[in-house]
Amino acid sequence: MSEKKTGAQAFEIKVGLAEQMKGGVIMDVTTPEQAKIAEDSGAAAVMALERVPSDIRKDGGVARMCSIAVIEGIQKCVSIPVMAKVRIGHFAEASVLDALGVDFIDESEVLTPADEAHHVDKHGFRSPFVCGARNLGEALRRIAEGAAMIRTKGEAGSGNIVEAVRHLRQVNGDIRALSALRSEELATRAKELGAPVELVRHVAEHGKLPVPNFAAGGIATPADAALCMSLGAEAVFVGSGIFKSEDPEKRARAVVHATTHWQEPEEVLAASRDLGDAMPGLELDQLADHERFAERGW
């Protein structure tokens, strides 16, 4: 309708879209058919990828950005925002997705990292970015690089919520602890966190991150979603949890329901009935260090 716009997008516009996704569920999908099921079930956005994290785990090999044909097929069939993942540090993959007009780019530890030292400088893109974080320092480093949304890393593809809970508690606990510090102590804390002092001051003043804070990595049931929301997540990502379960459509609806009604136990109960089997879960003690996605990035 308007002429094609170019150049970096204003940060407020990027964060503005993240605000619109609050209270919603963002679902991993690998085909247009799955994207349609996700949309019909009430997903607030879909994440296009070639293999869901549990399959990446199982198959091994290098996991890359999704094929363009799959992303375009998904963009064509749903009206909700379409996100896609790039490898950590792979700014050329990010440029491709930006040119394709995806609504959000996830610089994700689930894919095989392209750069072990540097994340993408995210300011220069038109698409907003979401990045994973395990603690406040990591979250603020990503925001300083231009991320417009933070999510927990959790442990993707595990069906085990323990890491997402750990990361949510850590980020929110770190935020609460800032409120007790004096001004000069915030500077020292910024140094310890490895984060810019301006951002640390902003968080101390407002009691929250300057961008939305979502949960991801290991959510497999409606109660998992309600748990994350109770711990301060503002929306949830569900990866393998939907399409690796026995009845994806039913489970997708149930997770959406529980995310809206997380404060009402009887609604979470209703959402939890007759769902069939959840995805198989992994005991994380049995994962070798190199199999832990959350350890990727810094």
Partner: protein, 195 residues
């Protein structure tokens, strides 16, 4: 009225940003999900978010009729972005294979969804000269925004951007294609609530 009690439909979307913006103006706010909660309100916001997602929630919670009754009651009702789409008489997605979204039909206009494109085409712009008194120079944030077309005779245009209506009202029902809840300029909500 003293400090009005403004409900914000909290199925999905930027209900938190709406709450912050309204509280800055001195309104009391409440997130609502139920018919019984809606009945007590002085005013109601349908926030931005995903219109498909929110419409499915409205269906599941059987809120179509209660929301239409709220509009008919004459109390102030504001829909922003996805909320504006839901107020319209019909929502379209021109040139796509996307499923239609059911609407409340309380605003005599057609909403073209994602009319500007995807997020990379989102933008900010000031309202055109000639906006309603009090809204001069307002900077609007459009995010995957709809365009309102085929306005009925009872629909008053309060502001335009690039000639297109972006803030309209039909009596007590207000619709905004942009997001007055993002940013610190509270003039749209102030005008809407008569504060």
């Amino acid at each position: 009225m003293g400090s009005p009690l403004v409900g914000i439909l909290a199925i999905q979307g930027d209900f938190e940003a709406h709450g912050r913006a309204l509280e800055r103006l001195g309104a009391r706010t409440r997130r609502v999900l139920r018919d019984s909660e809606i009945a007590e309100l002085d005013a109601l916001v349908l926030p931005g978010g995903e219109s498909t997602t929110i419409s499915k929630g409205i269906e599941r919670l059987s809120l179509w009729e209660p929301l239409r009754e709220f509009a008919a009651s004459g109390r102030p009702l504001l829909g922003t972005c996805a909320g504006a789409i839901l107020l319209s008489r019909r929502a379209e997605s021109p040139g796509t294979e996307h499923d239609p979204v059911p609407t409340l039909g309380v605003l005599d206009a057609v909403a073209a969804r994602n009319a500007y494109g995807t997020q990379v085409d989102s933008f900010k712009s000031r309202v055109d000269p000639g906006a309603a008194a009090g809204l001069e120079g307002f900077e609007c944030t459009f995010i995957r925004a709809p365009v309102l077309t085929e306005l009925g005779p009872e629909v008053e245009v309060l502001a335009r951007v690039e000639g297109r209506p972006v803030l309209v009202r039909q009596q007590n029902v207000w619709a905004s294609c942009f997001h007055p809840e993002l940013g610190l300029d509270g003039r749209v909500q102030r005008l809407w609530l008569g504060l």
